[in-house]
């Protein structure tokens, strides 16, 4: 996006306005990505803040070569991995334990529909939690981070074909779980 380049250019010159614009533009997408990768809101907030802090600290040497959202999404994925590594073995809350707000997922026209939508959402959250970490990452980075498979491959340190396979397996597994063919 043309304006992203301009905003980065201004941020390099210390513009607080440019920072606000970048943050406002990508906060929601990146928080969504972090929350779905980690499964907990508190840590997702920390990841979001860490990523932007690093971004500001390195802005003088930063060169935007692709999309800014894609770059920040990669940073979120890397930082989320650090958090997940730290949490390994601590028996912390799973993604399925995370309760999500109805307002985040859609507008229900009636209380009955609201319950159905919430139930669907919880099933999806649980299904995502049931995916192997690499598949979940590939699915979320592609669908929510807007990354191409070669970019995901770069984040995961694998070949583009492998990233694409992880994505396909992930989607297929989600489909099976949501259709009730596999226990989560």
């Amino acid at each position: 996006m043309l304006e992203d380049r301009y905003l980065v250019w201004r941020l390099k010159r210390g513009s607080a306005q440019a920072l606000c614009r970048i943050y406002n533009r990508y906060e929601s997408d990146l928080l969504t990505l972090a929350t779905n990768l980690l499964g907990r809101t508190g840590q997702a907030e920390d990841v979001l803040q860490d990523v932007f802090m690093k971004f500001i600290e390195s802005i003088d040497t930063f060169e935007l070569t692709g999309s800014l959202k894609g770059y920040l999404a990669k940073c979120v994925a890397n930082r989320a991995r650090d958090y997940l590594r730290k949490d390994r073995g601590r028996g912390s809350e799973t993604i399925a334990d995370c309760r999500l707000r109805m307002a985040d997922y859609g507008i229900a026209s009636s209380p009955v529909e609201a319950v159905i939508v919430e139930e669907q959402k919880q099933r999806l959250v649980a299904a995502l939690a049931g995916l192997p970490c690499e598949q979940r990452e590939a699915v979320l980075l592609h669908l929510q981070g807007g990354l191409k498979f070669r970019e995901i491959a770069n984040v995961q340190g694998v070949a583009a074909k492998t990233a694409e396979s992880r994505y396909r397996y992930g989607i297929e597994r989600l489909r099976s779980m949501l259709n009730g063919q596999v226990e989560t």
């Binding site: 301009y6 941020l11 929350t35 985040d104 929510q144």
Partner: protein, 412 residues
């Protein structure tokens, strides 16, 4: 049974929103870090370098000499007008390149009502396509056509004719250099570039420019222009026109041909940037069908005319804006179309207008108000149409015409 595509859609829709407290907290922290970073730039590196350099008096002298030379050499590059000076140069080159064209076709999409004046915007409106065709001729003006779904304007080289497609209302003008809204100016894109070049030289702080590689492998030049709104934040017209909004215009030119390749305009509104105009197609030096510059008018056109002085003109001259609105709606309510014509400046009242406004009932008429961006007045109204629909809006009236009578200028 869910399909893969449905699963992908579900995942895309799984959103988490930040609450206001978290948003302010994180953004506040980030702004603090940015501020500190600017106060102590590269704090980890600079003191070390300074300590090493300043250890001996000879080094100090040498460093001072280097510093003086460096400052002298860098003055042309460090001058505050550097980015904009190059912006001015780019615009100037673009203006020259576009003056040498044979023809062009530019299509933009703008958030505007499909039959409006090519200029009114709404941040929540859908994008509407607007086409500009221009055939340069030996004289300065050339021939052009400007078209959106509900309206078309054609300059055939002698006069411009505007047709409102639904109502058959036609306005003709031989004024070849009328005051135009921003969007309309694109028919003279080379002049837009000249104007921006002048502004870039005069107001350098509003312009930034940089180079970037294009997807086609060619180098591109991008210029971003910040422009403040011409009206205050609480003004009625705020964000209803590009000029009446705080906005950012981003131009992209091919570095070699200097021709405009991309254009985007964002309105800044409550911390958000809303894209209101985007260029979707730009073709240069193409063969254009001569028929584009001939407008086939329907047989039953209604022409816009200048308001002439009436025998009882004084009665209308003395009206206040509210009285004019009252008289306008009374004429509609009584279906007195001859009376209504006195407020329209047209050869007849369009059937569509008669059907829409005839027999209306005025429910409320508010106190007139003005906008810093408009020479007339707005009169708030609430009416009940013959169809039973209730309409609430502001009637725009102005009397800056030779007859000094109030004329309907919008808001219906």
């Amino acid at each position: 049974m869910k399909r893969a595509r449905e699963v992908e859609t579900l995942v895309q829709g799984l959103r988490h929103a930040a609450d206001a407290e978290m948003h302010s907290r994180i953004l506040g922290n980030l702004l603090d870090v940015l501020k500190q970073g600017r106060q102590h730039p590269s704090a980890g590196i600079q003191p070390t370098v300074r300590r090493i350099v300043m250890r001996s008096p000879i080094t100090k002298l040498a460093a001072a000499a280097v510093l003086v030379v460096a400052i002298v050499l860098s003055v042309p590059f460090l001058a505050p007008s550097t980015p904009s000076a190059s912006a001015a140069q780019i615009f100037y080159q673009a203006a020259q390149a576009m003056s040498g064209l044979k023809s062009f076709h530019i299509r933009v999409e703008m958030r505007t009502p499909p039959g409006d004046n090519f200029a009114c915007i709404g941040l929540n409106y859908e994008f509407v396509p607007i086409d500009f065709w221009k055939q340069f001729t030996d004289d300065e003006w050339g021939k052009w056509r400007l078209e959106e779904p509900g309206r078309v304007v054609v300059m055939d080289g002698q006069q411009s004719t505007m047709l409102r497609k639904g109502s058959n209302i036609v306005s003709e003008s031989v004024d070849r250099n009328p005051e135009r809204y921003w969007t309309e100016c694109l028919v003279e894109v080379n002049k837009v570039m000249s104007r921006e070049a002048r502004k870039a030289a005069e107001q350098p702080a509003q312009f930034t420019s940089y180079r970037q590689p294009g997807e086609d492998g060619r180098e591109k030049m991008v210029i971003a222009v910040e422009a403040p709104s011409k009206v205050p934040p609480t003004d009625y017209l705020r964000n209803q026109y590009i000029e009446d909004s705080d906005h950012l215009t981003v131009y992209r030119f091919d570095a070699e041909t200097k021709l405009l390749e991309d254009l985007q305009i964002y309105v800044h509104d409550n911390g958000k940037d809303v894209l209101v105009l985007r260029l979707v197609q730009a073709e240069y030096n193409i063969d254009l069908d001569p028929a584009l510059f001939q407008l086939q008018l329907p047989a039953d056109v209604i022409r816009s005319t200048t308001l002439t002085i009436l025998s009882d003109n004084e009665k209308y001259e003395q009206m206040t804006p509210k009285e004019a609105a009252t008289a306008f709606f009374a004429a509609c309510a009584q279906e007195d179309w001859n009376e209504l014509l006195k407020f329209l400046g047209r050869t007849a009242v369009a059937q569509r207008m008669k059907d829409y406004l005839g027999g209306l009932e005025v429910l409320e008429l508010g106190e007139p108000f003005q906008s810093a961006g408009y020479a007339g007045w707005f009169v708030p109204y609430k009416i009940k149409l013959k169809s039973g629909d209730i309409k609430q809006h502001n009637l725009a009236v102005r009397n800056d015409n030779p007859a000094h009578r109030w004329k309907l200028d919008g808001g219906i």
